[in-house]
Symmetry: C2
Subunit: 399 residues, 2 copies
Amino acid sequence: MSSENFLVQGFRAAAVNSGIRGKDRLDLALIVSDKPASVAGVFTTSLVKAAPVLLDMERCKTGKAQAILVNSGIANACTGEEGMRLARLTTGMAADALDIAPELVQVCSTGIIGQQLELACFQRGIPKAARNLSAEGLGDVALAIMTTDTFRKIAVRTAFIDGKPVKLLGLAKGAGMIMPNMATMLSFILTDAKVDHDLLQSILKKAVAETFNAITVDGDTSTNDTVLLMANGLAEHPPIAEDRPEALSAFAAVLEDLCKELALMIVRDGEGATKLVTIRVQGAATEAQADQAARTVANSNLVKTAFFGEDANWGRIIAALGRSGAQFDQRQVDIAFDGIFMVREGLGQGKGVEEQATAVLKKREFIVTIDLHAGQGRKEIHTCDFSLDYVKINADYRS
Amino acid sequence: MSSENFLVQGFRAAAVNSGIRGKDRLDLALIVSDKPASVAGVFTTSLVKAAPVLLDMERCKTGKAQAILVNSGIANACTGEEGMRLARLTTGMAADALDIAPELVQVCSTGIIGQQLELACFQRGIPKAARNLSAEGLGDVALAIMTTDTFRKIAVRTAFIDGKPVKLLGLAKGAGMIMPNMATMLSFILTDAKVDHDLLQSILKKAVAETFNAITVDGDTSTNDTVLLMANGLAEHPPIAEDRPEALSAFAAVLEDLCKELALMIVRDGEGATKLVTIRVQGAATEAQADQAARTVANSNLVKTAFFGEDANWGRIIAALGRSGAQFDQRQVDIAFDGIFMVREGLGQGKGVEEQATAVLKKREFIVTIDLHAGQGRKEIHTCDFSLDYVKINADYRS
């Protein structure tokens, strides 16, 4: 991807080393819009919310934002009053450096829980970042927010609203503590579209439900999950509005597509992951039961280790379905791996089929389709396999 | 433990190789009471129940049982009508060999899901087992039911009812697909106590709730979980009855203690486990929330890999609490490892304390106490760490 792709008019960014994560690594970044933008945010559903999440939720209500300050290395979660004070203080420092109001600065942190930020790092890093803002700087921001990620996650799209091009650019990070609703993942999406805050919020919420909230790496939900969408309105189309459903759905579809690309990148980069597996449940009694069933299969350690072992062990899938809470008749369940029906009406289809299914499991990406034949409910959850490296990464993360 | 401990008057048993699992391994067993016994059973809560579970649930209603037929290697789960037919047929063969009514035979299977039993193995194995029944044979049964278990699980107790000794002997298997309510675990408990079926059932249910249903290895629940308790009434005490609360509670306490020993053996032998960790939640708003919170922490892969890495990473514990659904104020949470308070009022207590907590994590068994300061709810869940060997075992289980 050439760096030209990373441009959205009116947005500039920079990432620097501030000392939070040693002397070499990019660990602090600023994203700035030339003018105040409509902002929308979706945040962790965890009861335990990090200080930056609490601050962003409050500031999102104003509907406007002009900058995002982000650091990796320390999550500023479980840091009490002092953590809140530091979150406010560092956004104030960014506001000063950018000469904007502090309320227009959003802030995100990712990293270790329970440690306090060191103010000196922000005193060093923020002015340096503010001096180095450039249209091309977003590529570096994607590097600066990586933790256990192995590659940077950027996606771009162009929507056409009333024939006018609208650019969307998304950054994301996340590889562990990833589970819908949501996980240690951050994503920043920048667009020059013209949309007011309230509508932007409802569009984002819907897009996140089917993308970032439909993935899992390890079933763990983080204290810091944040998706921020800034729309600075510099594109030339008439505003996207609820009474213009064509423009609205054109924008929403492209946004969801962008979010899906970023979300799947997170699963592909899941800690230790070697495979991306889509669990598609159909024929559930209700949508909610489809969701339950798909998530239970997608989070089962036994299912995920079988994927890693390339073992077409459908017994573990049906066992996970059985404990999921979804209602169905086990004598009607079909299970297919990329169209190879291993199970029909609850029964295995024999060795020949098993060999074909095993060939599917050797692929890096495949779909498991489960039909419960109990109704019309459908849901897709994207997961990864569970490898030795997951344990290695997580047994040593802090050491 | 000497083999003498494995005796309960009126019970005999034998385990044989029937060919289900090759030529050498014990894989089929019979446990027989000299006279019909009161029976109680607790079974998997999975919607997907194996054929033997369905048959046992039906037969438990009669209140009486005289024999248990058990095999390892094949679970007879997801095997349809043919699986039910084979479950009935094999219990009929056992009944013939023992010259008792088929309805008095309970049956359990553990092993791979989705394969049919081979009748020839039972035709070979059942008569051989029936011929070899002995009071000492129970030790072999504990071997025959092992799958990924690394040691056999037997526990014995003596209760005193009205001054008369009552013997209880329990066998169990289980190492993976272990999660409360329940997991691939089988347990058979034999006693010479005199108790009628209905009371026995309520005593067993209560004991299981706090023992076998308070453990987790991997959060997966099996299709085959079964605890069967047979009481043949040969002991000399007056019957245990609801209007004799002293006798009732003496028996119930010893039964629960026995179940706890077996349940903790299962966790210690959890697939790949190197540590037994008790998650004790107190101060939850309700008992149900204490249960939710303790189970969520006990099943978090990130928490369990940190235990394996001997990393006192309390951030992962508080993150799990945050997504558990329990209600609390993060500014009031205390977390201690064997009495070392790493977190007080939601805040880490610094490097000195972390070093002490790390020393606790190096132990093979320890307790994590979480006080939510939100009420009186309490729950203990016993879990294990999550090691590289868990993935190795489960990525290759069938190969």
